[in-house]
Amino acid sequence: MPYPFDILYRVKRPALYSGNEYNIVRKEREGRITVALAFPDTYDIGMSNLGFSIIYNVINLREDALAERVFAPWIDMEVYLREKNLPLLTLESGTPVFEFDILGFSISYELSYSNIINMLNLSGIPILSSERENLPLVIAGGGCTTHPGPLLRFIDCFAVGEGEELINEIIDTFKEWKNDSRKKEDLLEALSFIDGVYVPLFHKKVRRRIVKDLGKVPYPTRPLVPNTEIIHDRAVVEIMRGCTRGCRFCEAGFIYRPVRERDLEDVISLSEKVLSSTGYSEIGFLSLSASDYSQLEGLTQYIEEKLVPLHISVSIPSLRVDTSSRAFFHAIGEIKRGLTFAPEAGSQRLRDIINKNITEEDILNIIRVASKEGWRSVKLYFMIGLPTEEEADILEIVRLINEIKKIDKRLEINVSISTFIPKPHTPFQWARQISPEEVNERISLITRNLSRSRININWNDPFVSVLEGILTRGREELTDVILNAWKNGARFDAWTDQYRWNLWEKALGGCGIDWRSYLRERRYEEPLPWDLVDIGVKKEFLWKEYQLGLLGIKREDCRIKGCYDCGVCTY
C-alpha cells in the first residue's frame, strides 16, 4: 500500500490514491533508470490526459527504464501527509518521489504551477533548480513548455514538443551520464544538445520536436483502466494531430502543427486493441478537428458496422456538425448526447477577425441539424475581449443566442462565456487582454439583454483570467511571485472553489509587480519571453496574420487553399 490505511480512511476521495489499475506496469527498480511521472492536478484529471498516458507507455516499453505515476494530492490529503511527515509516493510501488532518477512533470495549463511547487515540496525536493545538487533530475513536458518563462528556475530541463522520441533520447543521455557518474552540470550540458530540450542554465534557443509519422511511434494499446471514475473515462484513439484552420486566438492550432493523420487501418487496429485490453464500452476518437480527417467516411462505416453492434458508444470531441457529418450522427445512432459548439464571437465582423471561418447561416444550420436529429441540449462557447471588440459585437452574441433559441422550442441552451487570453505562438500573442473591470461590464451587458428562459449562462471569475494571462505571458521575474503565492496557500488555482486571487495579488504586490502591465498590448519590436522556443511557425507569419486579422481578412485552411508559408512544413 502506498499510503497508510489510516490516512486513506480519513480523506474524502481515497480512490484517487489507490492505483492498482488493470494494465498497471510494475517493474523491479534495480538496474533501471527510474522516472516518476507527475501530473500537477488530481488523479481523475491527469489520467484523462493522453500525453501523460503516451509517455508512461513509451518509457515502460524500454527494458532499461521504468515509469511510475504521481498526482497532486487533494487539500485534505496534503494536511495528513504534512501532519504525519510522509513524502509523496508513486502509485505503482509506493516509492518516495525523491528516490527516482528523473521527476517528469506533464504541464498542460498555467493554473497548475502552484501545484508543481507543492508537489516538489511534498516530495522533499528543493524547489529551485539552483538548490538541487542531487537527483532526481526535474524535467517538464506538455503544452506549457512552449512558453516556460515563469518556470525557468524550478525546472532543470524542458522537453519541448512531442515526446515520443524525445523522452527516449533524454533517458539514453541520462543513462550514459549515470554510468560515468559525473556532475549534474555535465548531465544538463549533455541534455542541452538534444533537439527539443531546453536547459535554462545554458540559455540556448530550442526547437520544438515534431513526430513525422504518427504510425511510427508507439501508441498505448494497453492503457491503464482506472478503478474510479475519471473525467474522460473511455478508450481513446488519436486519429489526427495538429490543425491548420488557423483560428488566430488558438494556441493548439499553432503549437501542434503540421497536420498529421493516422491511417484508418491503423486507427481501426488500435481501436480493437484498446477496447479488448480495457473492456471499455466507450471510445473517443481524438483530434483537434475531426471533420478535417480525410478518412472520416471510412471511420463512420467502421463505427456503424463494428462498434455499434457491440454496444460501444462513440464520441468525437471536435467534430463540426454540418450536413456532411449528418451521416455520421446517424451511424452513432440513438446516442443522443448534448451538442457542443463554439461560435466564439457573436458578430460576423469579429469572427472574420479571429478567422473562425463560419457564417451565422452555418451556425443556425448546425443547430437545425442537431434539432432534427433529436438532440435535446446545446452548449455554446463564446469569448469576450477579442481584439477590436465593441459593444455592438457583444450585443450580437445576445442576438445570435436568441436566433438559436427560435429554432427549437424544446432545446436547452447552455452558454459559456470565457475571457480571451492572448496566447504565445499565436497571431494574437501581441494583443491586449481586457481588464477584470471590462470583463464585468461586458458580462453584464450580456446578462442585462438576454432573456434567461431555457438558457443557462456561466462565465469565469475575471481574476482567474488575469492570473492565467500573467502566467502565460510572464517570464522569470514571476519566480518569487509563484513561490510566495504557494507559501501563502495557493493550490489548485484552476479549481474555482480553491482559487484565491488575493493570495496572488499579495504575492505580485510584494514583488513590486504591477499585474495590470501584463494585460497590455505588446509591440512587434519587443522581445517576447517565449522567443526562446522556436515552434517552427515563423514570427513574421504570426505578425502578418495578426495584421490581416485586424483588417478583417479571413484565410481559409491551407490544406484547401494552398500554403501561406507559416514555416512548419519546411521546419
Binding site: M1, P4, L8, P14, A15, V225, G279
Partner: protein, 194 residues
C-alpha cells in the same frame, strides 16, 4: 434463449477497498467485457451488463466473500473463475463461480459479519454499552488485555442488512469516538445466509 446467472464470489481487498460501490460496478462492467462473458445486456441507449449485488461495502472496507450475480445468455464453459481472474485488477479476486437459475441474493443473504482492526486504547465497557444501545446483538473480540481494556483489537460484529440503525460505518465512527486510534483494517469477513 436460456437466461441464467453467473454467481461470482470474490474478494475485494487492499487499495480497492477504497473505491465506491459505483466505481466497483464500473470495474466489474469492464472485467466481464474483458473476460468476454456471454453477457445479457440491458435495453436502452447505453446497454450495460445486468448485475445484482449484495448491500454495498462502505468505502474503506475489504470484503472476503462478496457476491455478485451477472445475467448471461447461456451456461457457457467459458464462465470460469480462471478466465475472470486473468483479467481482474489487483484488489479483486474471484473465489468461485457457479451458474444459478435465479438471482435471489436479496432473499438469501441477510447480513454480514464485519471486523474492525485498530491500534489504540479504548474503554471496552463504554464500547459495549454503546453497541447495546445501538442494538447490536452479537460481537466478539480476538483479544483483550488484562485490565479489560483493548489495545489492539479485532472486533467482529454481526450486522443484519435489514437493520436501519446499525451500520458498519456507524460502528467505525463509534469506535473512533471512544479514543485516539489508528485503523489497520476494516472488512466484511463473511455473509449471513438465511
Amino acid at each position: 434463449m436460456i437466461v441464467v446467472f453467473a454467481r461470482i464470489e470474490y474478494r475485494k481487498y487492499g487499495q480497492l477497498a477504497f473505491i465506491s460501490h459505483l466505481d466497483l460496478i464500473r470495474t466489474w462492467e469492464r472485467i466481464v467485457r474483458r473476460a468476454r462473458l456471454p453477457i445479457a445486456f440491458t435495453e436502452g441507449f447505453h446497454p450495460k451488463p445486468r448485475f445484482s449485488f449484495i448491500p454495498p461495502l462502505p468505502v474503506g472496507f475489504e470484503g472476503e466473500e462478496e457476491l455478485l450475480d451477472v445475467k448471461i445468455l447461456e451456461a457457457s464453459p467459458y464462465v470460469k473463475k480462471e478466465i475472470i481472474n486473468s483479467v481482474v485488477p489487483e484488489g479483486i479476486w474471484v473465489n468461485s463461480v457457479e451458474i444459478v437459475p435465479n438471482s435471489d441474493l436479496s432473499k438469501t443473504i441477510i447480513g454480514g459479519i464485519y471486523s474492525f482492526n485498530w491500534i489504540g486504547r479504548i474503554d471496552i465497557r463504554e464500547l459495549e454499552e454503546r453497541l447495546e444501545i445501538m442494538g447490536v446483538k452479537e460481537w466478539d473480540y480476538s483479544s483483550r488485555d488484562s485490565d479489560n481494556h483493548t489495545v489492539e483489537n479485532l472486533l467482529s460484529i454481526h450486522i443484519p442488512f435489514s437493520s436501519q440503525t446499525i451500520s458498519p460505518k456507524g460502528i467505525a465512527q463509534l469506535i473512533e469516538g471512544l479514543g485516539k486510534i489508528e485503523w489497520i483494517k476494516l472488512s466484511r469477513t463473511s455473509l449471513l445466509k438465511r
